[in-house]
């Protein structure tokens, strides 16, 4: 959910951009993280743990903990809490450990 009114802060949002998450199109803003755009759309599950397949979301939101790894434009293990959203990005939930050789050149 986006905050529209705040007693102290004013949120200057960048240009509106479109991105794909698990095959569906969403909108977000330039300058925000992928995590922020997904949360704005109510999406809090980012990946599945490798062994027990438990859902995982954000924990630290500043790049410390690696709880939020997703596959972005084919590249696995991207910390989407610090990676900025860009027009046309393809973001996928990550299942298990990411595999690097899947990356397209």
């Amino acid at each position: 959910m986006r905050i529209e009114q705040h007693p102290i802060l004013e949120f200057r949002r960048g240009k509106k951009v479109k991105f794909i998450f698990d095959g569906k199109e969403y909108e977000g803003y330039e300058g925000e993280t992928i995590a922020a755009a997904l949360h704005a759309a109510g999406i809090r599950v980012m990946r599945e743990s490798p062994v027990l397949h438990r859902p995982r979301g954000l924990f630290c939101a500043i790049g410390n903990c690696s709880s939020c790894l997703m596959t972005v434009n084919g590249e696995p293990n991207v910390r989407i809490c610090t990676e900025k959203l860009r027009e046309g990005m393809v973001v996928n939930s990550q299942k298990g450990k990411g595999v690097l050789y899947e990356k397209r050149s």
């Binding site: 986006r2 802060l9 995590a35 979301g57 924990f59 939101a61 500043i62 903990c65 809490c81």
Partner: protein, 364 residues
Amino acid sequence: MKREVRFAEIAVVGGGPAGLCAALEAARAGARVVLLDRQDHLGGQLIKQTHRFFGSKSHRASQRGFKIAEALTREVASHPAVEVHTGATVFGFYEDGVLGVEQKGRVFYLKPARVIVATGAAERTLAFPNNDLPGIYGAGAVQTLVNVYGILPGRRVLMVGAGNIGVIVSYQLLQAGMEVAAIVEAAPVIGAYWVHAAKVRRAGVPIYTSHTIKEAYGKREVEGAVIWQLDGDGKPIPGTEKDLAVDTICLSVGLSPLIELLAQAGCRLAYVPELGGHVPLRDENLQTTVPGVYVAGDAAGVEEASAAMMEGALAGLHAAYSLGYGQQDYEARRAAIREQLEALRSGPVGEKIRRGLSKAIIQL
């Protein structure tokens, strides 16, 4: 593989209040500084703090944290002797004193004559069933989503921990339009300053002391939490469970210094619970047991922003001085910063920090 190594006088790792002040102080003394931060902006934890600051009277108290960050960032950005790199993660500290840096997919190496590590701290988690469910965050993480990006992670939150961070973030979540179901605190007393605690109480938020979280539940995301009471020995009392329908749980149960780079550098560490965990041993000038490597701010021990700024300044001053800069003003400047720092840590509030520092400060 061939690697290109750039030389530098002073490298500062981390651009929070500690790193910003370290860079400024060293640059003002005449040294050339490279400041690196992995985020896209400087300011560290300060950028998400909308409340007026407590802390020392002399040091920007009563200003809002993000305003302090803006002011320091402007000063650093306009100083010709500071080269700022944002989006730059320092990923390694090698035996030969070389730092490995990744910036936007590119890797470069730096060999600074002096390094000041001001990497801050990481939020801790807590052990309870289902503590890995999406919807459970560090309090600082939710603060980032809400105050930096303007996004609410849910509608109704349980806050675990009634220290300053837990209580302040609870108030900020109310301001932003979330409902705070309760704050639980394992200790028998509220740790936060009363001004902040009184504000959330007035807003109708219950603060349960001697309580903790028993478990979280939900299928793929948090749907609720069970809290229960603790007896005098800190053991849970069966039968006191309360079930709260919340979609978000914030953990505010302390921070641990981020000391990985210092450990790689070979700095001697000590476990000092009063400072948040493992911290590097250092002298009065914040120099660690590895000559030329300094630590400052939360990485040196979890404290608060004013102390981080002064520690940064002391480290920056000494690093520049040891390279031959600022010889004339050194003693006076050093005495002035140390006096402020001591004033900040005096009295009963500073007792724990003083005890911790007595275990971490050594004669080199």
